[in-house]
């Protein structure tokens, strides 16, 4: 492979847009003072350990799924977004995608 190809197509920092979103959300909440980074690491490493007991994690999609699960549980415990509230909002977004004609911006009213 030529060096040009490597320069023009670097390894993506985030493989999927939602990986970037959940990462940024967590960093932002930390910087806004909702939790310390040490608190986050303690919870996140516990989730990884639990997931890693049943199968070997490859550090890709499974890593960010564990990240998301940690954040959902953390926010529910903080009383910021309960599991039911999050699930209801997820369903609203899903319905919005399924009911929005292709090519138009997907929005929900709130």
């Amino acid at each position: 492979m030529s060096s040009c190809a490597e320069v023009s197509a670097p390894e993506p920092v985030f493989a999927e847009p939602w990986h970037a979103q959940v990462f940024a959300l967590t960093v932002h909440l930390n910087e806004a003072g909702r939790f310390s980074w040490a608190e986050w690491v303690e919870r996140f490493s516990a989730t990884l350990k639990r997931h890693g007991l049943s199968r070997e994690l490859d550090g890709g999609e499974d890593y960010f799924r564990a990240w998301l699960e940690t954040l959902e549980v953390f926010l529910a415990e903080q009383g910021v977004a309960s599991g039911a509230e999050a699930e209801q909002m997820r369903c609203r977004w899903e319905a919005a995608y399924l009911n929005t004609p292709h090519g138009e911006p997907v929005q929900i009213e709130y």
């Binding site: 493989a15 550090g59 926010l75 910021v80 999050a86 292709h102």
Partner: protein, 229 residues
């Protein structure tokens, strides 16, 4: 009913790649493409937190832009090249990295301390995070997938020489290997050995020899003229 024809399997990266390649006016997709389940869950959290005034969506965009476009291993490479070129800078960096890095505009947004460990003929350093994936973000950006994998996190401590061999690195037998375990509070950067025959090169040319892996300790700096890692 969403499990019927309209729902795509987004769990595989290949599916996302197909999405990229799909023409926008594809008549088989009368509605907007449904993102994968975790993406909807992230959107849900974002919406709830925005509604409650706990987050600023513009700040999220700024964070993503920073980590996607503005910081990466090129930052660490600049620091290493400067350390190779300037003995006083190097001494200060090894003694107490935080103020030296802050002067260059690199500081931990999560309040962590940075420690720089120097490779020598007697000791090779390697960095891991056995807890999760703590990493010197301001200097190296987001860690690669292998750094976050169970395999690397477990093996780096247990059998560092075998891990190095997997990365194509073999060290003299009398070089000790020291593994540094990162935490939420302390992140490490390896200062690789300067390749022979590069004295007198400009900092910019030197920085081009410093790979991401050489600053994690799973690689060595490149020799001039060596193909890109």
């Amino acid at each position: 009913m969403i499990d019927g024809i309209m729902k795509h399997d987004w769990t595989e990266p290949a599916a996302a790649a197909q999405h990229e390649a799909m023409p926008h006016d594809d008549p088989n997709h009368p509605h907007a493409l449904l993102p994968p389940d975790p993406a909807l869950r992230v959107k849900a959290l974002e919406t709830i937190l925005t509604q409650k005034g706990l987050i600023d969506p513009a700040a999220l965009d700024e964070i993503i832009d920073t980590y996607q476009n503005r910081i990466g291993p090129q930052n660490g490479a600049r620091v290493v090249a400067k350390a190779w070129s300037d003995p006083e800078f190097k001494a200060a960096l090894l003694a107490d990295a935080d103020p030296v890095l802050a002067d260059l505009g690199y500081y931990g947004r999560q309040g962590e301390h940075m420690v720089v460990v120097e490779n020598t003929p007697a000791q090779h350093n390697m960095v891991v995070c056995t807890l999760c994936s703590c990493y010197p973000w301001p200097l190296l950006g987001i860690p690669p997938g292998w750094y976050k994998s169970d395999a690397y996190r477990a093996r780096a401590v247990r059998e560092p020489r075998k891990v190095l061999a997997d990365f194509g690195v073999s060290l003299p037998e009398d070089t000790a290997v020291r593994v540094w375990d990162s935490t939420a509070e302390v992140r490490y950067l390896v200062l690789p050995m300067q390749p022979e025959g590069t004295e007198g090169l400009s900092e910019e040319d030197l920085a081009a020899l410093v790979t991401r892996d050489s600053m994690i300790g799973t690689g060595l700096a490149k020799a001039p003229g060596e193909a890109p890692a």
